[in-house]
């Protein structure tokens, strides 16, 4: 698996400290860092954040910080806000947050920054009110690569559809924008419909069923959300559809193992959420210790993950999304 053993992370930490020292300052220990995923109890975020999986909290632990994970019970700004506020009240030094909304959290996050709290977003950005965004994969890259993946599976021809999360989901809407752009390169592929499964298995299943009926000639489905793709895969997992309708999107390997094995899904992609969290945790500690100054072009080494450069929009990119298929899926366990 990809889980990092504690010994390696300790080594990584010490290397990081020396690296940081080289770039101008050292990482303080004992910082209070609060990790705030979109919602508590979601397996994707649990992987991204937890010590066991080597996520954000693992990075913070290895650096000697006090990290904690908390969030609301619904992935909405009104449920996330009180958590952010209480983190501010509790005197956090840094927040690592996946924003439930690009703008709604801004007044509060700005307030946090005004108090000198470092705000690092990960997974989902709030561009105007954070210090640094740790980007899992560039928005354009996810959009284009998913279209390309699907094109390969359907010979660049046929009707396709998208099963998204909620109609207002930030990431998904941005990716879909790039998908549409990328589709102009494939004149024989037609996007016939975008439906919303609201990240609820039952709704996602129902809307996907509707798609299959409404467009009998459908050749492919892209679902850039783990709940949507799982529902679609379960539906397509019948002899009637298997191999006839291609499915790709974003999913965790564990969710897709069965479908890749039986041929319902050929390939899909995702970044490693644990690495995403790890990088975000690391970057937050660096920033909060003023070990780095957040100037574009500056580089730092994030422990086991290696060297990263701060881009001009104050973001760092985890890397290209990883494509999972039959050949590699069994190497992963998350």
């Amino acid at each position: 698996g990809t889980t990092v053993s504690s010994s390696t992370s300790t080594t990584a930490a010490s290397t990081a400290t020396t690296q940081a020292a080289a770039s101008g300052g050292s990482i303080k220990t004992g910082l209070k860092v609060v990790v705030i995923p979109k919602v508590i109890g979601n397996s994707y975020f649990t992987t991204a954040d937890s010590v066991q999986s080597g996520g954000a909290l693992a990075a913070l632990q290895s650096l000697g910080e006090t990290g904690s994970e908390t969030s609301g019970t619904a992935a909405t700004p009104s449920s996330q806000l009180p958590v952010i506020q209480s983190a501010i009240t509790q005197g956090a030094n840094a927040l690592v947050i996946s924003a439930t909304d690009p703008t709604a959290l801004c007044p509060t996050l700005n307030q946090a920054m005004a108090k000198g709290i470092t705000v690092v977003t990960y997974d989902s950005d709030a561009p105007t009110c954070r210090n640094l965004f740790v980007n899992q994969a560039s928005t354009s890259q996810i959009g284009t690569s998913e279209v390309d993946l699907l094109a390969k599976q359907i010979n660049s021809t046929g009707d396709i559809a998208i099963v998204s999360a909620t109609a207002s989901a930030t990431n998904q809407n941005a990716w879909i924008g790039y998908m549409k752009q990328e589709l102009t390169k494939y004149p024989n592929m037609h996007l016939v419909s975008i439906v919303y499964g609201n990240d609820d298995p039952a709704t996602a299943t129902a809307v996907t069923q509707g798609l299959l009926q409404q467009y009998p000639n459908l050749k492919g489905i892209i679902s850039p959300t783990t709940v949507g793709i799982a529902a679609a895969a379960a539906l397509l997992d019948t002899p009637q559809y298997r191999g006839k309708i291609a499915l790709t999107g974003l999913a965790t390997p564990n969710e897709m193992k069965k479908y890749v094995a039986d041929g319902t899904v050929t390939s899909f992609e995702l970044w490693n959420p644990a690495n995403l969290g790890y990088l975000a945790g690391y970057a937050a500690a660096e920033l909060a210790s003023k070990a780095i100054t957040n100037t574009p072009g500056q580089t730092f080494t994030a422990g086991k993950l290696g060297k990263y450069t701060i881009a001009s929009d104050h973001s760092i990119l985890l890397g290209a999304p990883y494509v999972f298929d039959k050949t590699n899926i069994n190497n992963f366990n998350f």
Partner: protein, 352 residues
């Protein structure tokens, strides 16, 4: 004990109602002071859990987290006292928020949008009221229907749009307290509304009529109280107040989305029930609602500061709700269970 017991069903129901529904000043006092004790207890727990709890910044946080729900709970309280229910409150909030965003991106000025949104709230409330009073449909079923309908209209209005470029002068209500106080704007408005609602409910003919309708709507009608008209007005009022909450919610989050406040109707209902308002109508106080809102906010915040797992918040909310209805009935429950067994032993004559 057995001798004194009668088993007339009517009696049972009456005495049961008496326990829950009678206007007994002493029991009310006991209820509210009980809530007060819970509130004080949660304040103490909060203070122990975190030194930041008793800071004005934290009071602001507490207020912000319950402000809009508490505002929705006020008209809902009157509706429940009148013997009905409104589950569409959060959907009215969401639709008002969406309309606000929709009109804003279509270039309307905020000064014009606000009255339009409030009128829209009145219309949504009117629809509920029409279905309940004019068509005589059960309010529980009707407002489950409008809960879906209003949210659906919000989705039609805004679709996947997120509107967030509201002027900063409005959106500061989400971060800045009312000048000179630690209170967020929503709490300030809640307290003013609570005062008005409290006076209306407890010191005016209208208020007395609402209680009478909830206790016995037939007797109220026989006393010349315009039962349907009052219920209709309560629903319209609820619509207006919820759309006001929608405006506050939108500016607080600086965001209008179709799914704003989804699911908050249950939070509003549980504040109302926790306040000691009888689900059968006819009993409840506004001061209870204020205390219940404060308790819910304080407990939530204290648990947050104590790093209590947020996953378990549902347990706390549900548990509070259950305790609030169970405690007044506990004596009866045990009495009944005991009676049940006693009766078993004392079986009368059976025909062979």
């Amino acid at each position: 004990m057995l001798q004194a017991e009668t088993i007339e069903l009517k009696d049972d129901i009456d005495s049961n109602r008496g326990a829950k529904g009678s206007f007994d000043v002493r029991s009310l006092v006991r209820w509210e002071s009980g809530l007060g004790i819970v509130l004080i207890a949660s304040l103490i727990i909060g203070t122990v859990a975190s030194p930041q709890f008793l800071t004005s910044a934290n009071f602001f946080n507490i207020g912000l987290s319950v402000g809009d729900i508490a505002i929705m709970a006020l008209p809902l309280t009157l509706i429940v006292i009148s013997g009905e229910i409104d589950l569409s409150v959060a959907s009215i909030l969401g639709l008002s928020s969406s309309l606000l965003g929709f009109l804003w991106i279509h270039g309307w000025p905020i000064q014009l949008i606000i009255p339009v949104v409030l009128i829209d709230g009145a219309i949504l409330g009117f629809i509920n009221g029409f279905l309940v009073t004019k068509l005589g449909l059960p309010s529980l079923a009707v407002t489950i229907g409008t809960l879906t309908l209003y949210r659906g209209i919000a989705l039609i209005l805004l679709g996947s749009n997120i509107v967030s470029n509201f002027p900063a002068s409005y959106t500061t209500i989400g971060v800045n307290p009312i000048p000179g106080t630690p209170l967020p704007w929503s709490v300030g408005i809640f307290l003013i509304l609570a005062l008005i609602f409290g006076v209306v409910a407890h010191f005016t003919p209208l208020g007395r009529s609402i209680f009478a309708i909830g206790s016995n709507s037939e007797a109220a009608a026989y006393s010349g109280i315009k039962v349907k008209q009052i219920k209709m007005r309560l629903y319209i009022l609820s619509g207006v107040v919820c759309s006001l909450a929608g405006i506050l919610f939108t500016f607080r989050l600086a965001t209008a989305e179709y799914d704003n406040a989804t699911g908050l109707e249950l939070n509003a209902v549980s504040i109302v029930l926790l306040a000691g308002v009888s689900i059968f109508g006819g009993r409840g106080t506004i001061i209870g609602v204020v205390l219940a809102a404060a308790t819910v906010g304080a407990i939530g915040n204290a648990l947050l500061l104590a790093n209590f797992p947020q996953q378990a918040m549902g347990l706390i909310n549900g548990g509070l709700l259950l305790i609030s209805v169970f405690v007044p009935n506990a004596r009866e429950l045990f009495g009944r269970l005991r009676g049940h067994y006693a009766r078993r032993r004392l079986v009368g004559l059976r025909r062979g």
